[in-house]
């Protein structure tokens, strides 16, 4: 046990994880402050510079990442798209975590028929592809930002519910919850102040799995044209916008595509590492 951890520490953090962390920090900074420094507006058109290539392909620094079919600056659009996509993925992950955790706690606290109903809902959700739910819901609701966010948030709730229910049942056997209960503490207080901090490690590992999936779902639905709607933009919508021009302007697809890929990959790599660590910490044998 102890040996394993020391060997890992001695080996240092692999360069892939450093790059992943570096990329995420860069993307976060871009999302937070980038739009304020974007050289052009999201929908600002420059007809004189349609299909301007990026600097790397012989373009000029006026449009470092090139422009699209109506001369919109890809760099400025990319920064705004990163902000929207990250915001949707972060909030979406949080919403799913809150819904699932609360339902999981309710199931574990009340047991009986309430637990049966919640777990039947969990099984039902797990028995169907979520993307079909999302597409059907987007067929009837006007796809505004908040509706879309709620749909993304619901994705994955069933896994949090299952996990939290199991963890809470385990925690109830640990004695400290009983002790607090006999001291007269209110159940809500026990759950939020005492059990939640104890199970938060496992829940946050689940979040690192859920986060890249939410990005992929959001960009996928936006790519299909049923997610984020113009004038807003998202990384998936940028890829979709660039797709008809793949023959003459590959950069319109390449930059947003790479941004999605690097972001999901970075979170997955860091999440895998966190999961390995959690395994080492919790393994009983």
């Amino acid at each position: 046990m102890v040996e394993v951890t020391t060997v890992r520490k001695a080996a240092g953090t692999p360069w892939s994880l450093r790059l992943a962390a570096g990329w995420l920090i860069l993307v976060l900074i871009l999302a937070l402050v980038g739009p304020a420094f974007a050289p052009y507006g999201v929908n600002e058109q420059d007809f004189a510079a349609r299909f301007a290539p990026p600097v790397l392909a012989g373009g000029t620094w006026a449009h470092p990442f090139g422009t699209d079919q109506i001369g919109r600056d890809l760099f400025s659009r990319l920064i705004n798209a990163i902000r929207i996509s990250l915001l949707l993925a972060l909030l979406g992950t949080l919403i799913g975590m809150v819904i699932g955790s609360v339902l999981g706690m309710i199931a574990a606290h009340f047991r009986g028929w309430i637990e049966d109903v919640i777990m039947a809902l969990v099984d039902f959700q797990a028995a169907l592809p979520f993307i079909i739910f999302a597409i059907a819901a987007l067929a009837v609701f006007e796809a505004g930002f908040w509706t879309f966010l709620l749909i993304l948030g619901i994705a994955g709730w069933e896994r949090y519910a299952r996990l939290v229910r199991a963890l809470v049942l385990q925690a109830q056997n640990d004695g400290y919850a009983d002790a607090l209960d006999s001291l007269g503490a209110h159940p809500v207080r026990i759950y939020l102040w005492h059990i939640l901090p104890n199970i938060f490690g496992a829940v946050s590992v689940q979040m690192t799995i859920n986060f890249p999936e939410t990005i992929l779902l959001e960009t996928g639905l936006s790519f299909l044209g049923i997610g984020i709607q113009p004038p807003h933009t998202s990384l998936g919508l940028l890829v979709s916008d660039g797709r008809p021009y793949i023959f003459q302007a590959i950069w319109l697809v390449a930059f947003p595509g790479a941004a999605i890929f690097l972001t999901t990959l970075s979170v997955s790599l860091l999440g895998d590492r966190a999961r390995d660590r959690a395994d080492i910490l919790t393994r009983k044998d």
Binding site: L128, P129, L216, L224
Partner: protein, 310 residues
């Protein structure tokens, strides 16, 4: 034994019924379907006659009863757009989706399983790390980005393959490759984990200690035991495949069910959306049932114990 299969089948039928009912009401949450399907400028008379024509003036429960009794006889209503039976959409497009999905699924297995086995057998070596890095990358690469990258490389740059359409075998290659490569990453990871677990079992150590050649230990003792969880995982991954099918078909303009679903959503053609949703749900629930039954056949402990979840 028959009890186990009957329970599983009954459970699948109930899940399907709940799913169908759920989607029926979800698609009718918005009361003013006429306004949605026609457009904002439609007159009240046009909306009223639309609602009468498609039965939206009846109560929800009446509509539900009509729909479900019709569906049981193969009548899934009519497309708002061209007034053809919605079920015709499925009949026309199902072969295309099956062609792409089966080709993609076969590629997924052919790439994913050997990669996972190789990584597990060479655990901790450079081979293992390379395969797992590729798998991590494949897992994070959205299928539409991979599809467009393949399209750019092979159709635009090298001009070897057609970019979109479905008229020849050459048209199948890029979509099937996209489908197979995206899915194989998850399979490789899972196969590796299942194989590593089996390789750590005492009976493998015993087989090795008995002097059996390493290849025989792997092929005869480890692979068959690792196969059960891998087969299960393949069955349960059908849900993700539905998502892949929708996106890959859209990228390559492949005229299958997924592409039909997206255009029906864009047109607010609810009868078609409804029937397609039912078809996709049936696929996934059917695949899960198949896995349960296979599992019961392969592993007698499960059917006698009633399984982990009933």
């Amino acid at each position: 034994m028959t009890g186990y299969f009957l329970r599983r089948t009954l459970r699948a039928v109930i899940t399907l019924w709940v799913a169908v009912t759920f989607f029926f009401f979800l698609l009718r949450v918005d009361v003013n379907i006429g306004l949605l399907a026609l457009n904002m400028n439609a007159s009240q008379e046009a909306i009223d006659s639309f609602n009468t024509r498609w039965g939206f003036d009846k109560s929800l429960l009446d509509q539900y009863w009509l729909w479900i009794t019709g569906a049981l006889q193969g009548d899934f209503g009519y497309s708002f757009r061209d007034a053809r039976p919605a079920a015709d959409w499925v009949a026309e497009r199902l072969p295309k989706t099956l062609e792409l999905s089966l080709a993609g699924f076969a590629l997924m297995i052919v790439i994913g399983v050997p990669a996972g086995l190789a990584a597990a057998i060479r655990n901790g070596t450079a081979t293992d790390r390379t395969i797992m890095s590729l798998a991590a990358a494949g897992y994070s690469l959205p299928s539409f980005v991979l599809g467009l990258a393949l399209m750019y490389t092979f159709a635009v740059y090298l001009q070897l393959l057609p970019s979109t359409g479905s008229t020849s075998f050459a048209h199948l290659i890029l979509p099937a490759a996209t489908y197979g490569l995206t899915g194989s990453a998850g399979i490789a990871r899972f196969t590796r984990a299942a194989m590593l677990e089996v390789l750590g079992k005492p009976y493998i150590a015993a087989a090795r200690a008995s002097g059996a050649p390493p290849a025989a230990v792997v092929l005869r003792h480890a692979v068959p035991n690792a196969a059960i969880p891998v087969v299960t995982m393949l069955g349960f991954s059908v849900g993700q495949l539905v998502g892949h099918a929708v996106i890959v078909e859209t990228v390559f303009a492949w005229p299958g069910l997924g592409q039909a679903l997206i255009s029906a959503v864009a047109n607010r053609d609810l009868a078609v959306v409804q029937v397609l949703v039912v078809v996709f749900a049936t696929f996934m629930i059917g695949a899960n049932l198949l896995v349960d039954i296979l599992y019961g056949v392969l592993d007698p402990r499960i059917r006698t114990a009633g399984g982990a979840n009933g």
